[in-house]
């Protein structure tokens, strides 16, 4: 799980072009949107593309997005649960 979290941090930094952010700056439990990393709706689309491209995962229910993309921990948990199911 730790490896997956570290990999996700690097992928998010790269995909969202967060040049000023280092992996160690990101608390995996902090919210990605709003107060935390301050991502917005375009970033949400980028994260959906990232999940599909890198992990082959699609969001069946768009309403789940809010929970899945809450933090890096929740994204990692979603990836782990889909891979094991």
């Amino acid at each position: 799980m730790e490896d997956l979290i570290e990999k996700l941090k690097l992928q998010i930094i790269d995909q969202l072009n967060l040049a000023e952010v280092k992996p160690e700056d990101i608390d995996p439990g902090q919210p990605l949107f709003g107060d935390g990393l301050g991502l917005d709706s375009i970033d949400a689309l980028e994260l959906i593309v990232l999940l599909e491209k890198e992990y082959g995962l699609k969001l069946d229910k768009p309403s789940d997005g809010k929970q899945i993309f809450h933090s890096i921990n929740s994204m990692a948990e979603f990836i782990r649960s889909q891979k094991t199911s």
Partner: protein, 318 residues
């Protein structure tokens, strides 16, 4: 036509703040702009999605406003030849590479030609007229004409008028594969420029008194058109300075009744790009500020093989 230019800001391969230290581009190659520290006006959060053409354009627009008391902008008129070319190429490459699936939204959203004008409007909260002119090598000239018409119709308003074009590896390849041999070895450049303009002469540096555009002209036909302009539209026999953006040989073959005292081949400083005439107008503004004795400047531009323009500028400081 009448439009007064008050201030300008430019990003280009040349440092135009120091006129005496302007350096000619040396090699026949691609020349990228000297980019500023964008963080002066744009936070890293804002720039992370912006390609270079957007950053250069938005920065120039913000930097040309008064630092202490930024002018209220009522309208934004922008010019570009190829728009956000890098983002367009990224998006199209993804379409091919990913077989039309899994397309990242950012390059798609940012690939439209009016991104620069739109980003400026969002940043300065300008909800007024916003138009982007895309007319190849005459884009800046058409934006200038639009600005003059809009300003005449809305004399109490202040406008941001500018241009932005970027040089990329793909553009260089396209240029070399599509231009005739005589153009292939030209210095390619890029840049962004913005002007604060309105109908108020007070405090302005320069008056745009005429803009003429010509398409599909052969060099001899343009020479005739220029001679006609000199005969009919200049109120003196010759301008003090001609800034020319056409090959030196072609410029030297033009026939003037009397030669201007000075001529400057401005693309030797900024390179060739769609909106290079915007650089020439910025350079003219700096020349007029530094030399109040100069009364009139004529900017003559040529893009590719057949697009020509004349921009007639007058000193507004006296």
């Amino acid at each position: 036509m009448k439009l007064f230019l008050h201030r300008s800001s430019c990003i280009s391969p040349a440092n135009t703040d120091l006129l005496n230290e302007l350096k000619r581009l040396e090699s026949k190659d691609s020349h990228y702009a000297i980019e500023p520290d964008y963080s002066e006006y744009l936070s890293p959060g804002m720039t992370r999605r912006m390609s270079r053409v957007i950053k250069m354009g938005v920065y120039s627009a913000l930097a040309c406003r008064d630092k202490n008391q930024p002018e209220t902008i009522d309208a934004i008129i922008t010019a570009t030849g190829f728009g956000c070319f890098d983002d367009s190429v990224k998006f199209l490459t993804q379409i091919i590479k990913n077989d039309e699936n899994l397309l990242s939204p950012t390059p798609f959203i940012q690939s439209t030609h009016n991104t620069v004008g739109a980003q400026i409007a969002l940043l300065i909260q300008c909800q007024g007229y916003n138009n982007t002119h895309v007319h190849g090598g005459l884009s800046f000239e058409n934006a200038l004409i639009d600005a003059a018409i809009y300003s005449t119709e809305n004399p109490s308003q202040t406008l941001l008028l500018g241009a932005s074009d970027e040089l990329t590896d793909t553009f260089t390849d396209l240029w070399k594969n599509t231009q005739p041999n005589k153009n292939k070895d030209m210095n390619l450049g890029e840049g962004a420029v913005f002007f604060i303009c309105n109908q108020n002469k007070t405090g302005s540096v320069c008056e745009v008194s005429n803009v003429k555009t010509f398409i599909n002209l052969e060099p001899e036909e343009f020479s005739n058109a220029l001679r006609e302009y000199f005969a009919n539209s200049l109120n003196v026999s010759t301008p003090d300075i001609i800034l020319f953006g056409l090959p030196k040989k072609e410029y030297e073959s033009l026939t003037f009744e009397s030669m201007p005292a000075e001529s400057i081949s401005y693309k030797e400083y900024c390179g060739e790009y769609y909106t290079a005439s915007g650089f020439a107008v910025h350079l003219s503004l700096n020349l007029l500020k530094a030399r109040p004795d100069v009364k009139q400047i004529l900017v003559i531009n040529k893009y590719g093989s057949h697009q020509y323009s004349i921009i007639h500028l007058k000193n507004a400081q006296n």
